[in-house]
Symmetry: C2
Subunit: 315 residues, 2 copies
């Protein structure tokens, strides 16, 4: 009887896997390293072998498993075709078909940011909500959108690419985005973006800051400095929070979600970040929507495997 499903989250460093009941209980969680050799062509077979091994340990057979859900860092079309996943070396790769051929398990693939939103909706900060958006602030800025209880993938697999909404003020534009344009949200409001903003202040403009002496610093160190009262760091954190709040206000006007979740590495800044975003959102949002809750993600780096499992469970 199909009582279990598998959630997989493939990243550039490791592959996270989870064995779930169809009710959402995570029974076992394990990781394996991502083998990037040969254009990432061993990734799916490594994952498949690891899953089969795990199932053997649980005395589960094919008939017990509803299927495998896989999250990947790139746009996915038709729950199978990975258009491109630069960090894995994949390009136009039918990852679901590959997994199905090896394991015999019915498989579905989707973008990792979208799956994280679905995971938070299943068992995390948006539990019970049928409409939610989750903004992931990491190296860049991504977003997953759930509408009527289902993930939005987008026609080209690009739903939630809010990091490329162009809304930076001219004075905050530093260089060109990876997409070839200027002014994209993630150029200032991401982990990389805020480092660029601070470097401009302390290196190019030689402003005094607790970060001035350092060889390099991370977004985490910037937020810590801001919390400790460093005015340059605080100013740049405020810019990040203002831009994320603006993105939230845009998402609210388009989708009116029940809740907006903030996740990703930068969300480790906690209440300082969330309170700042919420305050600015209330000031700038369309008035009927200004009380839309903005919450920190609950599942951390497990959101992806939860979402991948949920996707399979619902199909």
């Amino acid at each position: 009887m199909e009582e279990y499903c598998i959630g997989v989250d493939i990243g550039g460093t490791d592959i996270k896997c989870g064995l779930f009941t169809l009710e959402g209980t995570l029974l076992s969680r394990w990781e394996l390293p991502t083998d990037l050799s040969d254009s990432g062509s061993h990734i799916i077979s490594d994952t498949a072998a690891s899953i089969m091994e795990k199932l053997k340990g649980f005395h589960l057979t094919e008939s017990d498993i509803k299927g495998v859900g896989i999250g990947v860092p790139g746009p996915v079309v038709g729950k199978d075709m990975v258009e491109v996943a630069v960090n894995l070396g994949w390009k136009e790769y039918r990852a679901a078909r590959e997994m199905e051929q090896i394991t015999g398990f019915w498989t579905s693939v989707a973008n990792d940011a979208n799956l994280a939103a679905l995971g938070e909706m299943w068992e995390g900060s948006a539990a019970g909500c049928l409409n939610a958006a989750m903004i992931t602030i990491g190296t860049g800025v991504g977003c997953g959108v759930v509408v009527n209880g289902k993930m939005a993938d987008g026609f080209h697999g690009c739903a939630g690419e809010i990091g490329h909404i162009r809304l930076l003020a001219p004075e905050d534009i530093i260089g060109v985005c990876g997409c070839g344009r200027t002014g994209c949200l993630e150029q200032a409001a991401s982990g990389n973006g805020i480092v660029k903003l601070v470097k401009r202040e302390v290196i190019d403009r030689k402003r005094e800051s607790s970060l001035s002496g350092l060889e390099a610093f991370s977004s985490r160190e910037i937020f810590d400095a801001a919390k400790a009262g460093d005015p340059v760091a605080a100013e740049c954190c405020e810019k990040l929070m203002g831009y994320i709040a603006r993105a939230c206000s845009v998402i609210a006007c388009v989708l009116d979600p029940e809740v907006i979740i903030i996740g990703g590495g930068v969300s480790g800044a906690g209440d300082y970040l969330i309170d700042g975003i919420r305050e600015r959102f209330r000031e700038m949002a369309f008035p009927p929507l200004k009380e839309t809750p903005i919450r920190i993600a609950a599942l951390g780096n497990k959101a992806g495997i939860y979402g991948a499992a949920k996707m399979v469970r619902d199909m």
Copy 2:
């Protein structure tokens, strides 16, 4: 046997009704005037009586009808509660329950702009698409969003309120929006908005234009003047097209729809408008999405009844 459904589109002037087969064929279309007296409290009973009369003519009984779908100009929660519909005099009105109590037909209510998108997806310019957005440029700017084949209502019934995305350049902000803020899209990129832009040029700034002598002019006359080569009108039309293109680029980053449809009264400007929006969209959109088709709506003022019928058909 349930083989038919009813679509209703309630406006401030008239109520449009349609009798459909479940396959999407419009068998009969009729209208009745909107009675705005007594805070619009006769609207549903008038509509119900008109439907029953029509069904009698077709020799149809309750068992032949799957249900009634109703579109209203305002936010709707839970397919029943109309939060507010200023033009009808309604406030916190359970319109679906009222219709059900009178007719015995299962009834569902939604926002009219959202239903127009669903209608275009069923039998119009987005036919066959599971993911589409339809921007309605009329007095204001609205938008309906369809994700995975289902309409997005939003938690407060405000999905698609893109007219209140704040993206106007400071020089194009004239006065305060109805929502109490400044810089909202619809303050420049709507029928009312473009009239304000042109009036500022020809009246306040006394610029020479073919529209200068007129007591009043409509968005239609502005587009006609632009097509005839009037530089002031053309400049303001370009602003409108640029802002709508920007809204399209935002929607593309959030939802990546298969197609974006442009409807509403201002869309009567035809290819001049659509070509202008498309050209600007291609310049400013996230590169993987810049070929997203932008098309003019096909169903005209029938989109609402098609969408209302489709909503009931799918439930």
